[in-house]
């Protein structure tokens, strides 16, 4: 009896192995996305972006004359074990040449040892710096890495805001710590160091101590690397105390939550972001319109990133004239094209996007100041 159960279980595992593989008249790509778990909402945007791209591609004649379809597998966002099996299934069972995702850096890094043997290409928006320095030839990154935003904010502050005394305030977690470190590094490149480097804990409500030491240090601009709620409180308290700092910082400062909570005090706050729905760029405008028409909501970063990912994948296969991963990777190396997030041109390590947007809050709306390119 036990034998039967085990056999059934084994048969189940094997059966999953034997289904699928693309039929002759379609080309199947994979997607490894957070379909379940606490970040399932991001997976939903991911899927909406990709589905819209696939619809467009198929309406325009498909890939190599065949219909394009996507096999989705769940990687539970930042769960390395789930990502390993999800990628393994796409690689061994569906045998796809390209996978969109995994998006989370830790999931990318966990799966690289497996997929980097040339059997498939992963197109990702993972922004962790190590993603493209692992010597893996088959990762294509279509967003700037974490360093880029910090560099862009610092460069804009120095060149356009003409400040030289810069202070930092960050939240005491991996997001804030990493961000603050990168800002310090970016300042160092310009031969500067922060006049003060303050931290706070998640959920703090009173920032008077940090603000007063920033004031004592004579900061003209404060770079913030913290979450939406805390950012709003910091800006509000600064204005209540009548302190003169300007603010710049992470993507949090262009998010609706921040703008709503900070109210009028949000005006003039500068931040770096990879995707701005209000960007007047025609590509972005067209994408936002299409997305809003199809889904009745505004797109966000995930939808835009993996919309671009799917479009690029189709283009690369068409350019290569085959689905062979090695040839498709060569096509990526020659690619030079405009997408929603920016202009794509791939370096040898797989980094294809070298720009980010600098945004300022004007009249309660984030508006584009400039695009910083590296």
């Amino acid at each position: 009896m036990n034998g039967k159960i085990k056999a059934a279980l084994l048969a189940g595992v094997l059966a999953v192995g034997s289904v699928a593989t693309a039929s002759a008249d379609e080309i199947k790509l994979g997607a490894s996305a957070p379909l379940t778990g606490p970040r399932a909402l991001l997976g939903k945007y991911f899927k909406e972006g990709v589905d819209m791209a696939v619809e467009e591609i198929n309406a325009n004649g498909g890939v190599l004359g065949k219909k394009l379809s996507i096999a989705y597998e769940d990687d539970q966002a930042d769960n390395p074990n789930a990502a390993i099996t999800s990628m393994s299934k796409l690689m061994e069972v569906a045998k796809v040449p390209i996978v969109l995702g995994p998006h989370f850096s830790v999931a990318q890094l966990a799966t690289m040892k497996n997929y980097c043997n040339g059997s498939l290409i992963s197109i990702t928006g993972a922004s962790g710096v190590p993603v493209t320095d692992q010597g893996c030839n088959y990762v294509i990154r279509i967003r700037g890495n974490d360093n880029l935003q910090a560099k862009a904010v610092v460069a804009y502050a120095l060149d356009h805001l003409k400040v030289s005394k810069i202070g930092i305030i960050s939240i005491n977690d991996d997001f804030g710590k990493g961000g603050a470190e990168r800002v310090v590094a970016a300042l160092k490149e310009k031969g500067l160091s922060p006049v003060a480097n303050e931290t706070h804990n998640a959920g703090d409500a009173d920032f008077s101590a940090q603000l007063s030491s920033l004031q004592k240090a004579g900061a003209e601009l404060v770079v913030m690397w913290t979450h939406d709620n805390e950012s709003a409180l910091i800006v509000r308290q600064t204005r209540q105390f009548g302190l003169p700092f300007k603010f710049a910082g992470s993507t949090s400062l262009s998010q609706p939550v921040f703008i709503e909570l900070a109210g009028p005090t949000a005006e003039g706050v500068v931040s770096a972001t990879d995707f701005l729905p209000a960007n007047p760029d025609p590509n972005v405008k067209a994408f936002v319109e299409k997305f809003h028409k199809k889904y009745g909501e505004m797109p966000e970063l995930y939808a835009a990133t993996y919309y671009d990912g799917a479009i690029l994948a189709a283009k690369a296969i068409n350019d290569a004239g085959t689905t062979d991963a090695v040839k498709v990777r060569e096509a990526f190396a020659k690619m030079d094209t405009q997408g929603v997030l920016g202009h794509y041109k791939c370096e040898a390590n797989g980094d294809c996007n070298h720009q980010t947007n600098i945004v300022e809050i004007k009249n309660g709306q984030p508006s584009l100041l400039t695009v910083v390119k590296f």
Binding site: L9, L14, A15, G17, A40, I84, T85, G178
Partner: protein, 632 residues
């Protein structure tokens, strides 16, 4: 459907061979990788089974041990470029030591407090790994660990590792099965079933808990190290509290405490979600519902299947030595009447034996065996014992009586080391024992039974008695698992003595029964058998006759006399006056924590203070009330 042990071995062998086949049948790398993962988790979850399922300490932090093993071996390989076969053992030893340290904590923090503590430790582990990025690589993990290449097996890493991982898993499970059956295994189970009884029967619960924790962490570390060699990448996210809970789930789905069930549990918890992946966003919900259904309908189902298959290696199937006893048990229909008849027969036999041997029975010598010196015990504001002093002379049966709440049980608990005295001391053969832990008191020669029967329900009757045997008392995990000549000899001696003790109680035929299947009277006899298997100097009996019927009472009285004739000294707390008077040489009377009388049965029965304590006060007060009424 009765399938012999031999056939079960054949079935198991066939299943094991079937597990070796997939790589040769061209099964895809994904399925193999899932099974690889299941094997690794099966090893880690086995640690949880040992600590939680077998020893009864809920561990919710196994992922931290796994992570500790993984990071230690990973860092050794990347940092010092030592080969994996050095890194892995070092990691296991380091983690095992840390686990033993935590085991020491576990002797102070128990049950759900321990569960929460291990949960907290898991989180602390994550935070340290996350923040100390100079060492651990931080949130992006350790990335450049060399994976173990085994080109002989061909194919990708999943194919290469499949058979080595499976063989390793089988070996680890065989080791666990072996440990389960040794004296150490019995001690772990005794602590789970009833730690108080285990301690007072000589089980050093502190040592056993520490060892069990160490074993748990060692299995975790082994799994973690193997994980690193297979996947070459680890990050804090691999070892979250969620993973610990998953491992506990494997143990629970596998029928808490079943070794084979844990393997099946790991297959289900790792494999089932993968099989259900087709359901996309709903697959984990379906998995959750399936688990709930398994737990509702067949709560120990996987465990029962696995234990049936592994029965040849589990206790309770000792083979030919007990086949005869077993056959007797089968023919013995255990109705109450027959039970009674049997007990009466044993009593008659024992009495006639005693009468024949009465000539050379040792007489009570009169020198003091146990000295209770001015002992007091307070529970908060209540003083259960006040300045009590009395002696127990070698070779006598001393009765300890008194109304309810007079401190009799507290006295017995103090003598057996279960409660610490507040003041005064207790000496055995001139040595102070009142400060020793219960197991050392037992080792010094004091044994006891409890007022409410406390046998270890999940174990066989034979095992119940063997737990207490002095030869297998020390926790020798390694020699026991290897099965050295000495360990085997000790085991045989313990078995033989246990069977003798059961024989004396007239219940040898029950040796292979599970203790939970016994009647109350039988359990009482098992308890008595295990308390005398070491031939203690002093036997403490807390109401041994409570809840017994006529025949069994007779048997009990005869057994006690027999033990006394063998030179054992007995302290007995008993309510039945007839039993006390017929049995005891002397009697000590307690009332409200004070000793109020001491002497022969007759003199105590006539003592006015004793009469007053039992009956007198109330009668007198009534009379006075009446007097008041008549005057008004």
């Amino acid at each position: 459907m009765k399938i012999s042990m031999r056939n079960r071995k054949i079935i198991l062998a066939a299943i094991l061979v079937a597990f070796l086949l997939p790589p040769f049948l061209g099964v895809n790398g994904y399925a193999l990788q899932v099974l690889d993962m299941a094997f690794i988790y099966a090893i880690a979850a086995l640690g949880v089974t040992i600590a939680t399922g077998i020893t009864g300490m809920v561990v919710l932090g196994q992922a931290a041990f796994m992570g500790l093993g993984a990071y230690t071996s990973g860092l050794i390989m990347t940092g010092t470029s030592l080969p994996w076969w050095l890194a892995l053992p070092i990691a296991i030893v380091v983690t095992g030591l840390i686990g033993a340290g935590l085991g020491l904590i576990s002797t102070r923090i128990k049950e759900h407090y321990l569960a929460i503590t291990t949960l907290g430790l898991n989180e602390i582990f994550r935070l340290i790994v996350l923040n100390e990025s100079w060492l651990t690589g931080g949130p992006f993990g350790l990335r450049d660990i060399p994976t173990l290449q085994i080109p002989v097996m061909g194919g990708g890493l999943a194919q290469q590792h499949y058979i080595p991982l499976f063989v390793l898993t089988v070996l680890v499970y065989a080791l666990a099965l072996r440990i389960y059956k040794t004296s150490f295994g019995r001690q772990m189970r005794a602590i789970r079933d009833d730690d108080l009884a285990a301690e007072s029967m000589g089980v050093n619960s502190r040592a056993v808990r520490v060892m069990a924790f160490a074993l748990c962490s060692i299995f975790g570390a082994l799994a973690g190290g193997v994980f690193v060699l297979t996947f070459g990448f680890i990050s804090p996210n691999n070892f979250l509290v969620f993973e610990s809970i998953k491992m506990l789930l494997m143990v629970v789905v596998g029928g808490l405490g079943s070794i084979g069930g844990t393997f099946l549990g790991a297959l289900v918890v790792v494999g089932l979600p993968e099989v259900l992946r087709e359901f996309q966003t709903y697959y984990l919900a379906i998995f959750g519902i399936t688990v709930v259904i398994i737990l509702l309908t067949v709560p120990r189902g996987l465990g029962i299947i696995a234990d049936w298959l592994l029965a040849p290696w589990l206790p309770g199937e000792e083979g030919n030595a007990l086949a005869q006893a077993k056959a007797e048990d089968m023919s013995n229909a255990a109705t109450i009447e027959e039970e009674d008849e049997r007990a009466t027969a044993v009593a008659v036999r024992l009495r006639s034996e005693r009468e024949q041997a009465v000539v050379n029975a040792p007489k009570a010598t009169g020198d003091v065996l146990l000295k209770v010196e001015n002992v007091s015990k307070s529970f908060g504001g209540i003083r259960a014992l006040k300045d009590v002093r009395f002696d127990i002379r070698r070779g006598e049966i001393l009765g300890l009586i008194g109304p309810n709440g007079s401190g009799k049980s507290t006295m017995i608990n103090a003598c057996s080391g279960i409660v610490r005295v507040t003041a005064g001391k207790i000496l055995l053969d001139g040595k102070v024992i009142s400060h020793l832990p219960a197991w050392d008191v037992h080792a010094a020669g004091v044994s006891r039974i409890f007022q409410n029967v406390r046998v270890w329900n999940s174990m066989t009757v034979l095992e119940n008695v063997m737990v207490c045997h002095a030869a297998t008392r020390d926790t020798h995990v390694i020699t026991g698992a290897i099965g050295t000549a000495k360990a085997r000899a000790d085991e045989d001696m313990a078995r033989e003595d246990a069977l003798k003790a059961l024989d004396l109680m007239g219940i040898r035929h029950l040796a292979n029964r599970r203790a939970s299947d016994l009647s109350f009277g039988q359990s009482r006899l098992v308890e008595l058998a295990r308390s005398i298997v070491n031939k203690p100097k002093l036997l403490l009996l807390d109401e041994p006759g409570a809840g017994l019927r006529g025949g069994l009472i007779m048997e009990l009285a005869e057994i006690l006399k027999q033990l006394r004739n063998q030179g054992m000294t007995i302290l007995v707390v008993e309510h039945r006056v007839k039993l006390v008077v017929s049995m005891c040489d002397r009697i000590v009377v307690l009332n409200l924590g004070d000793k109020i009388a001491e002497g022969s049965a007759q003199s105590v029965a006539r003592d006015p203070v004793v009469v007053d304590a039992y009956l007198g006060g109330k009668v007198e007060r009534k009379r006075r009330l009446k007097a008041i009424e008549t005057t008004t």
